[in-house]
């Protein structure tokens, strides 16, 4: 008798939980599709046959600013395209998606396209951001006695391997006659590096904004040097050769669209800061600092910019981070 009641109770629990489970999964499926529908429905109601363009961005970058501004979506719609925006956690993941044909455009910092080209992918440059070296640099604790790059000799420095900050660090060290063998490099991604730095496990941290601003405001850090004189630390808008060969006109549409959004960004920095604060979930002070020390803008690649990238490629080859010499010029798409 008791056994029977227990059995029924267990069956009840199983059924209730399973129903909740299936209901939850169903709601999830609907949530996923609602996402897709809201973008496609709005489009289909106006013009039925819009071709899809996929653009990858990272939180808070120039493409996200363009996405929020909305002007590029409008331009593309006029040309018969609909943009699907995809967010990525890192430049490496974005490039992988780009190289495998899952993205048509994307943005990364200055070093990922170098590694990608060396790996033999057909990723090409279509646009370059204005330099933003003021927000990048080598951070040290406020209490540190270091005053110049020379003092870094023998110290441990956190850096994201192969990143733009890594390049900045090597250039800074070499400018005073040090090499990376004279310091102790600790390879950490930004979130892990932040913990190591604030806990005093490393003496310095080479990093970019908004992490720099965040550490300066919230973690008692100061810049030993910024990226000035060492790097331009540009953003790059990338695509693939296969795509640009087929849609040369769209390349200009994207670069021009981003340029328009960034003009707006320069004129409305406080509003931009609010936007970034929401997107990045950072303090207002941090995004204010990030936005204030940077001029936004984008252009096609000039000879000077190509030369800058070539310098990175040559240094990366010399240090053995890429295993063949590459010609940046070959992977640039212009008019």
């Amino acid at each position: 008798m008791r056994n029977k009641r227990q059995r029924r109770f267990k069956l009840g629990v199983i059924i209730v939980f399973s129903c909740l489970w299936i209901w939850g999964a169903f709601v999830g499926w609907r949530n996923l599709n609602v996402n897709h529908n809201t973008t496609s429905k709005a489009d289909t109601s106006q013009s039925t046959k819009l071709k899809k363009i996929t653009i990858g961005y990272q939180k808070g970058d120039i493409l996200e600013i363009t996405k929020v501004h909305g002007n590029l979506d409008a331009d593309m719609k006029e040309k018969g395209y609909r943009i699907v925006w995809r967010s990525f956690q890192s430049g490496a993941a974005l490039l992988q998606a780009l190289a495998t044909g899952n993205l048509d455009f994307g943005r990364t910092g200055n070093t990922p396209p170098i590694t990608s080209q060396a790996a033999g992918t057909d990723v090409v440059y279509v646009g370059a951001g204005y330099s933003k070296y003021n927000g990048s640099g080598i951070l040290i604790p406020n209490s540190s006695s270091m005053t110049s790059v020379k003092d870094l000799a023998g110290k441990s420095i956190a850096v994201n391997k192969g990143s733009s900050a890594h390049y900045l660090l090597v250039r800074a060290l070499e400018s005073v006659g040090l090499s990376i063998d004279d310091v102790k490099l600790v390879y950490l991604d930004p979130s892990a590096a932040r913990i190591a730095f604030t806990q005093g496990k490393v003496d310095a941290w080479a990093i970019w904004d908004p992490y720099t601003a965040d550490a300066q405001i919230n973690a008692d850090a100061k810049l030993l040097v910024s990226g000035k004189n060492y790097t331009t630390d540009r953003d790059f808008i990338l695509s693939t050769r296969a795509f640009t060969n087929k849609h040369a006109d769209l390349t200009s549409t994207v670069v021009d669209g981003v340029a328009i959004a960034l003009d707006w960004a320069n004129d409305n920095k406080s509003e931009l800061s609010n936007q970034l604060q929401k997107s990045l979930k950072l303090d207002k002070e941090v995004t204010d600092l990030t936005v204030s020390r940077r001029t936004y803008g984008v252009s096609k690649l000039s000879q000077k910019i190509i030369q800058e990238q070539q310098e990175i490629a040559d240094l990366w080859y010399r240090l053995g981070y890429i295993d063949k010499k590459i010609d940046v010029d070959k992977n640039v798409v212009g008019d």
């Binding site: 489970w21 299936i22 990858g56 995809r86 956690q89 998606a97 495998t100 932040r194 990045l280």
Partner: protein, 254 residues
């Protein structure tokens, strides 16, 4: 007698509750700085905030959807393969060692390949969960069938059961305890694989929420995600444990 039982029922909760209490106390006393580990109350408040703006429920249900589909596909494949290899020697010789090789590849190492094959959409995430879930179910189904008491099968033959009856009356019930252990284990693997899967160009899901929080040091949300994973793991375990007791109560001898 009855008192003793309720007392024992509460015992498993003792350690989590004690840990929470000490943790809250240390946070309030500022022994643990909040930027290293936020107080439990702060985590709960964060959870309430994220539930109110709908972010938590949205991500949770989307994760649940991916997990369920992956589990159903992977579980079915693992189960069928386990059955085949358990019942047929030829099939076992043919596929078992290949499966064992594939089984030990870390999921993180597969990501570049998964992006190449499945792109960056839902199918890539579901595929990862599928292969994560497949192996525990495969191994335990196979093991369950192989370890059915040969004496019982012999007895079935003596009673002149045909092949189908032999399977449904003796082999399958005999293998069921082991299969359910596989299901229990697979449910755990399902959640851990999903975290990895949701780092591929995801913009939703609990794994995405955790990664996003990690990027910008949002400690409350990081801890919240950890707690959610723990609760989801425990809940799935409870369901299977009850299912086990329900389906296997013929085993109890008392």
């Amino acid at each position: 007698m009855k008192k003793k039982i309720t007392w024992q029922r509460l015992l498993p909760m003792l350690i989590p509750i004690l840990v929470l209490a000490v943790w809250q106390l240390l946070s309030v006393l500022k022994v643990i700085p909040t930027n290293i580990l936020p107080a439990p109350s702060a985590v709960i408040l964060d959870g309430i905030k994220l539930t109110q703006n709908g972010e938590l429920t949205r991500n949770l249900t989307i994760s649940l959807y991916r997990a369920t589909i992956g589990f159903l596909i992977g579980g079915s494949i693992g189960f069928v393969l386990g059955l085949l290899n358990g019942l047929s020697r030829i099939s076992n010789l043919l596929t078992d060692s290949s499966i064992q090789m594939f089984r030990n590849i870390p999921h993180l190492a597969l990501i570049p390949m998964v992006i190449l094959w499945f792109g960056i959409g839902e199918s890539a995430k579901i595929f990862l969960v599928t292969i994560g879930v497949m192996f525990p179910i495969y191994i335990n189904t196979l093991h369950g069938i192989q370890s059915v008491d040969p004496g019982l099968i012999e007895m079935g033959r003596v009673y002149q059961l045909n092949k189908r009856q032999l399977f449904s009356k003796i082999i399958f019930p005999g293998a069921l305890p082991s299969i359910l252990v596989g299901v229990r284990y697979a449910l755990g693997v399902m959640w851990t694989t999903l975290i990895v899967a949701e780092t591929i160009a995801a913009d939703s899901g609990i794994g995405f929420m955790a990664m996003n929080a990690e990027d910008f040091m949002d400690m409350e949300t990081i801890v919240l995600c950890i707690v959610i994973y723990a609760i989801l793991g425990k809940l799935s375990d409870v369901i299977v444990k009850y299912l086990e007791e329900f389906l296997l109560d013929w085993q109890q001898t008392d």
